[in-house]
Subunit: 142 residues, 2 copies
């Protein structure tokens, strides 16, 4: 989660909503990404999507069923869907996102009958620092 | 929808689940894409995601609020989320997807309070041909 929090701080410095994600395999980092939809002109460029795509590229396959995803914020519907498609084994996330989250809020995607893969889920990891980064970012933009 | 159906047929020929998508602006095609997670080693490479990313790149911005998306199959949660993030104005889709769809099935994402943008939605366009492509593809793999 340390690497994901550092990536989130990088996103904030670049003027992007501070969220960071890391894909790990056998205790080693396969990919790290910071949220970057504006910099990349890509509305799908959330940290989770970028980290999953980079990990799949690095491993040369489209299923990451032996990998874990660490992310500083509760994933949205787009990212929860991507996590299911990638068959991520374990999801660790930091701050809750009552406004846009899709794991513990809104569609609660992994509990839907149309969700074909549910990772093990661990929440609240590093949530204080992850939340402080987000609060600081939005306070600075008001 | 003709171009989206043709892209779906291309996906089938490449051994991918046959789904195609097109982004249009002012009646002109900005991007066309075929479903390609296997060929690209990218679990996020659904036709909608690829078309949205290509359109955003072509237009040099991360919001497509003046664009429409045409897709041969009801979008999943990942793609519905991406459609909302991209601020797509109108969504036209073909066949229903009771197993994995997230518009008229499962999370019904655009009706969730955590969904921050809902496009106009038109379904059933070209659904017979879109459904036949999918049925033929899965029948051939049994």
């Amino acid at each position: 989660m340390r690497a994901a929090l550092d990536a989130a701080a990088t996103a904030a410095a670049a003027g992007e909503v501070p969220v960071g994600a890391v894909v790990m395999l056998d205790g080693k980092i396969v990919a790290t990404a910071a949220n970057a939809p504006r910099a990349l002109n890509d509305p799908t460029a959330h940290a989770e999507i970028l980290a999953i795509r980079a990990a799949a590229q690095a491993l040369g396959r489209d299923r990451l069923d032996d990998c874990d995803l660490w992310v500083t914020l509760e994933p949205c519907a787009m990212c929860a869907g991507a996590i299911a498609h990638a068959r991520i084994a374990r999801l660790y996330y930091g701050a809750e996102d009552a406004k846009g989250g899709a794991v513990a809020h809104g569609p609660r995607f992994f509990g839907q009958p149309t969700c074909h893969h549910r990772p093990e889920i661990y929440s609240g990891i590093g949530e204080e620092e992850a939340g402080a980064l987000l609060k600081g970012f939005f306070a600075g933009r008001r």
